[in-house]
Amino acid sequence: MAAFTLKINGQNHSVDVDPDTPLLWAIRDGAGLMGTKYGCGVAQCGACTVYLDGQTVRSCALPVSAVGKSEVITIEGLDSKEGKAVQTAWVALDVPQCGYCQSGQIMSAAALLGINPQPTDRDIDLAMNGNICRCATYVRIRAAIHGAAKSLEG
């Protein structure tokens, strides 16, 4: 065990865990933030997607000891204009079914719009294909990303 101070959503959290503990479990069981999900644990599904210094990472595959002073943003702290636009579009189109994958989908979608405000279908395919949705809400995810992009235009 070792103590780590993680900066998550602008707040410092002290977690006392083994250095090999994936960031995902430090966020969930350590900091008690439950919006970030566990789906596979092997960087296959994207349910655990968070931002590390603004970049999307699979938190299930990143040991907490590698985080250092980097800033972590989770779904609870997503307050960029792209994030808000994506969440609004998600609700407007009733994208979620079971909802379990959607924190990760939204983090990836908001990150995409942050670097590419007008993504094509192909851009969406490339940016979103690391996020599995077993309910296959993909039709609406695509439509909602286009919708969010449109809402950000004006």
Binding site: D18, W25, Q87, Q97, G99, N131, I132, R142
Partner: protein, 722 residues
Amino acid sequence: MTIHEATLSRRSLLKAGAGLAIGVYIAGGGKAFAQAAPAASGVNIAPNTFLTIDADNTVTVLCKHIEFGQGPLTGMATLVAEELDADWSQMRADHAPSNPALFKNLAFGVQGTGGSSAIANSYEQMRKVGAAARAMLVSAAAEQWKVPALEITVNAGVIRHPSGKEGRFGAFAAAAMRQPAPADPKLKDPSQFKLIGKEGVVKRLDSAIKSNGTAEFTLDINEPDMLTVVIARSPKFGGTVASFDAAAARAVAGVVDVKQVQTGVAVYAKGFWPAKTARDRLKITWDDGKAETRGTPQLLSEFRSLSKTPGKTVRQEGDVEAAVARGGRLIEAEYVFPYLAHAAMEPLNGFIKWEGATASARFGCQFPTPDHAAIAKVLGIGIDKVQLQTILAGGSFGRRAQQTMHVAVELAEVAKAIGPGKAIKLVWTREDDMLGGYYRPFSIHRMRGVVRDGKIEAWSDTIVCQSIMKGSPFEAMSMKDGLDSTAYEGSHEIPYEVANFRCDLHQADVGVPVLWWRSVGHTHTGYAVEAFVDELLEAAGKDPVEGRLALMGRKPRHAGVLRAVAERADWKNAKLAPGRARGVAVVESFNTFVAQVVELSMEKEGPRVHKVWCAVDCGVAVNPDIIRAQIEGGIGFALGHILYAEQPLDAGRPLAANFNTYRSLRIDEMPEVDVTIVASTEKPSGVGEPGVPPLGPAVANAMARLGVGRPRQLPIVRGASA
């Protein structure tokens, strides 16, 4: 469910003085509800209500069905709101606790969700709840305003009298509680519906909490001093612990205890990571004496030989052998379907706290009544001493309802093994979930058909498949003549008129636990029947749509969706780009009729499906947008599995442990989907499952039209990894 019972519980509740609750079944208010807040934190086994109205006009519906994406929270609230004449914005919903007397599925007699039955069994019941509450509110207003009740109208949550008096529900909720519940409240004529079947007025109640990370799933339960439990289970089905050494596991920081339970060896730790790390360090010797040790190749060859002999007859008409003897073109096809894992996005899990004399559990429980009894039995206490609350689940596809209640049993066992007073979260890892069995059964269909003079003269289908129900507590009530209908449903009654017909079944015994998987038997029977009829029609020189329609004289709803989809896709005249082809299939499951047309091309790895047109007839369409969503999702779910998914066994050991080897459909492979909901006045039927079955055979039939043949063994892309 009758208003009579309602009145009784209402009275007892009135005595208890629960002021603002109204309606048929009554409980204290003050719970946290979906949309307002993520999931209830407490459980309450006392008489509960389907409906509460708060002073702030919020109407909360308790949903007796589990929400795992298919929309019952929204669906139940729609039915109540319609008859209550509520405004959609005031509606909320949350899960009902386990209580079969109040919350049973009227199709099953016990509380549970499955068979796409949620809306079907609740359609009248929940509308009556809304209508009764409306009548009680109106009586209360009439009393207070001293006007005849008949002069009062209710619209969009506002109660009005022509004199100008008006008020909202909250103001009359307490007084309404003192009104008698009407014995048989009058329901609206469908022509008066404002919410049911309407586009754009009803939005899902759970979208916001599922878009901001606040929706609470079982994995998210986090109580003070809670222990997370991860279990090492036998790598082979039926294996048991011979001996184990937990020294290395106990040395992991954060581990609190290690116990042997029926399913294996359980590690209790402060948090998931130490529990999993320690679990992986257990040294266990397994006794495989009773384990299943056959691999997929051996099962395939055994099933194949069986399929060449007649099984037990399920249904027979005319004489297939005589028709074969009369000549014509005999066509044979063998279809092979693999074991499939459900792989819901949230792996299996559960939460329980056992206090010795009482216990409370909560998890994404799909069949509360049997799970409730199973927990009580393991703990040796009465059912009335156990509270069980269903909460949101991250998908199921059938996996969270087990004929053996094995998750509930294991949950209670881990609580019992460590002793009372501990809050316990049992977590299956993704690998545990995928390797843990309860798969869609492995099966073979051996089809034979005779085409003579452009006509299908004979049809036979010999199925080899494991039974889901055999050996379970539900065996007696769910099997007919020793045969499990989930193995042949859809094969024994085909929508096509064929004079000489036979369907027979070999119910094979394999030690791999199997389970219903989104659309159950139709996952394989739909494929076998629809690919084969297409092949026979091709041999007969008929168009796939016209040829089917010509044989569907007695099946108007099948024909209806088939015509609708053909028209929508412009089947007859569409000019396809070079290298593209279309295929069609139509399958009825759970009383819902679905026809699909797919358009695809072939790429290096396999087919790429560009677009799917779908027509669905599910009777009265209660929530059109949820129907569309379920069809879209069902198509994606089906496509991923027919293309890539298989759980292979090596000497009895399942091999696909995670999404890298059990490949899931991803967004770049998702086709465009066009859904047509066929107008219908029939009773509503479900949509959670019926979107799945036609997709596979429609893909196969399109591949045949492209000249690459109908795949006869699934998955289509064999040996695919992600």
